[in-house]
């Protein structure tokens, strides 16, 4: 048997504190290529902070982050995106007054021509780029929900939460990232909506060849269904790792969620 698969994204000894509050402590975490990794733990265990440190919103106080063998610990948020990591946010951060298409194009920033001359003078070429990207965005949205694709030029603010989540995921996917970080995508949704969304995510995983997903979730049904592996955090430390079944049976995990017997 060969050694463990090469980690695509790895955190080693990651630490982050806010004043006296320790959010992450000596965290060792590996994400393997092409897997769907679940990141779970009680509230305040550092899951979103972990995402924020990876994506460069917070600076790590200790430890390193490696992506494809390259160190990205001190990279800015922009640098992390350009390296190929994209994310959604716990509190949905779409621009409600912009159209679906506009929001998705925000995610496509690195692949669009941002030159002044191109945009203002070369309108023919701009139009071609516009049409190409529209077709591509439409195709992406159709994976999630075909009716949505017909409403690409309506303001996002008028859509239900599940559609907004879908759009937000599209925004993260449009730049073809290698790693997609999903922060509680099912928050605020009903059981049925959650199931639909998870169906969509599975479909995306199938259509995209080279995609690794890390998903933070509280809904254990979701974790059980779609993840290959899980990592459990508590008080900023990893306390358990394995498949959902293994992790659910672990006494430390049960204690973390339910408290001491």
């Amino acid at each position: 048997m060969t050694g463990a698969p090469e980690a695509l994204l790895a955190a080693r000894g990651l630490g982050k504190h806010f004043g006296g509050l320790v959010a992450l402590e000596d965290l060792h975490l590996e994400v393997r290529e092409n897997e769907i990794l679940g990141l779970i733990g009680p509230n305040g265990s550092g899951k979103t902070t972990f995402f924020n440190v990876i994506t460069g919103i917070y600076a790590a106080d200790a430890g390193t982050v490696l992506f494809g063998g390259r160190e990205i610990t001190n990279l800015s948020a922009q640098g992390v995106y350009r390296a190929g990591i994209a994310r959604t946010f716990q509190r949905s951060r779409l621009s409600l007054s912009l159209s679906i298409f506009d929001n998705i194009m925000v995610g496509n920033h690195k692949r669009l021509n941002q030159g002044l001359w191109f945009n203002l003078v070369q309108r023919g070429a701009f139009r071609r780029e516009l049409e190409e990207n529209y077709a591509m965005a439409r195709e992406l949205v159709t994976v999630f929900d075909a009716p949505l694709a017909d409403r690409m030029f309506e303001a996002v603010g008028g859509f239900a939460m599940i559609d907004r989540r879908r759009i937000e995921i599209c925004r993260a996917l449009v730049s073809r990232p290698k790693v997609l970080l999903l922060d509680e995508p099912s928050a605020g949704m009903t059981h049925d909506e959650t199931k639909q969304l998870m169906d969509d995510i599975m479909q995306v995983k199938e259509s995209f060849e080279d995609l690794t997903i890390v998903i933070i979730e509280h809904e254990m049904g979701v974790i059980e269904r779609i993840t290959n592996r899980c990592v459990v955090l508590n008080f900023g430390r990893k306390i358990c790792e394995g498949t959902y079944q293994e992790v659910a049976a672990d006494p430390m995990v049960q204690e973390a969620y339910l408290g001491l017997e």
Partner: protein, 389 residues
């Protein structure tokens, strides 16, 4: 085939009728002298607008403009020429019309800064002043062709604005607010203590001269038909306005416009998608100031004389009020708001003295009850009429 053309004509009808009505109304409004007449016209105008809104007239106009944008814009430009033509001898009214056009361009500049990229600029009048003083200095001391003087006014304003804002770009919105307010307050004082720039008395500015056409001379057609020279400035102002309008429109309808909106709406999220936030903010700020400075140069050449008292903080706030009242990010909203803000105090004498107070109160009401302004900005359509499959 005929039916299609007929349908198209019908679609344009509300727009053309609307523009015609507005043209006639403005001619009446500008002609009226008595305060009672002004008051009546105001009431009548308000009634017509309310009725039009109720019976879909406004929506109809919007559709007309969407259907045939270039044509409708052309008609609107033409109507301004018609209005100006009506007052061909009236220096004062023509001057007022040009001021409206000039303030429209300046407000468009502020729209790019605040409406698109969310960068507050409370020194609009000061940047216009930079354009003015640049024109004054250049026309007096150099033989630079006046078209380039206008460009130079824009460049100076853009440059100084960039220098001012660059240090604080990586910070939040209120920093640009403080700095531009400080700049606006200190600008007037700076001018007053600088004798090289005329001190408190101000500076004379040469009239504009384009390719031999001396704009400060009345236009004589035949023996006893003379058109006020301000008419030439109306045309010059219209040219600048048309260019600025088209430019700002195109800016909005591109990835650059999208970038500015994105940066305004959510800096953290856009950072996670690779946005260089400073780049878009300073681009917007510089472009906006260029427009403001450019039109300031024209303003100076038209007035023939500029002094520090033209550029107070209150004047900057008037520009901000126009942008907020008209509809943040909507060039047509700007057009309407500028017309009201500039012309109303001139015609309704009693509010002249109270205009700063009045506009401040109006903006407060708008922010509380209709924050999107008179004509809220529509969703971005990259190419009007583009219907993707």
């Amino acid at each position: 085939m005929a039916e299609g053309a007929g349908k198209q004509r019908n679609a344009l009808l509300p727009g053309i009728v609307g523009i015609a009505v507005v043209t006639v109304y403005l001619i009446l409004f500008l002609s009226v002298e008595s305060q009672l007449g002004v008051a009546l016209l105001l009431a009548g105008g308000a009634a017509v607008v309310l009725l039009a809104a109720k019976f879909g007239g406004i929506a109809g106009m919007r559709q007309s403009f969407a259907a045939q944008e270039r044509g409708m814009n052309g008609v609107a430009l033409l109507s301004v020429v018609v209005i100006a033509g009506f007052f061909y001898e009236d220096h004062f009214t023509l001057l007022m019309i040009t001021v409206v056009l000039i303030f429209m361009v300046a407000s468009l500049g502020l729209t790019v800064q605040f409406g698109f990229a969310g960068v507050l600029n409370f020194a609009g009048a000061a940047f216009m002043g930079i354009g003015c003083y640049t024109a004054a200095v250049l026309t007096k001391n150099t033989a630079l062709p006046h078209v380039f003087v206008i460009l130079a006014g824009g460049l100076m304003a853009a440059l100084i604005g960039a220098l001012l804002l660059y240090p604080v770009l990586r910070t939040r919105g209120h920093y640009s607010a403080v700095i531009t307010i400080a700049f606006a307050l200190l600008f007037k004082t700076f001018l007053e203590v600088n004798d090289a720039l005329g001190g408190p008395q101000g500076l004379r500015v040469d009239g504009m001269n384009v390719f031999g056409w001396e704009l400060n001379d009345n236009i004589a057609l035949g023996d006893d038909f003379e058109i006020s020279f301000y008419f030439s400035y109306v045309i010059a102002g219209l040219v600048l306005l048309a260019l600025a309008f088209a430019f700002v429109r195109r800016l909005e309808r591109s990835w650059i416009g999208l970038n500015m909106d994105a940066v305004r709406l959510d800096e953290t999220a856009t950072a996670c998608f690779g946005y260089n936030i400073s780049r878009w903010k300073i681009t917007a700020f510089t472009i906006g100031n260029f427009l403001v400075g450019m039109v300031g140069a024209l303003y100076a050449m038209m007035l023939g004389f500029i002094a520090p008292t033209n550029f107070t903080f209150g004047d900057s706030l008037i520009l901000v009020s126009i942008v907020l009242l008209g509809g943040i990010g909507n060039p047509w909203g700007i057009a309407v708001a500028t017309t009201i803000v500039v012309i109303l105090p001139e015609k309704l004498q009693i509010i002249q003295e109270y205009r700063f107070l009045l506009y401040a109160v109006m903006v407060i009401l708008v922010l509380l009850y209709r924050p999107l302004g008179l004509l809220p900005r529509p969703l971005r359509s990259y190419f009007p009429g583009w219907v993707p499959k």
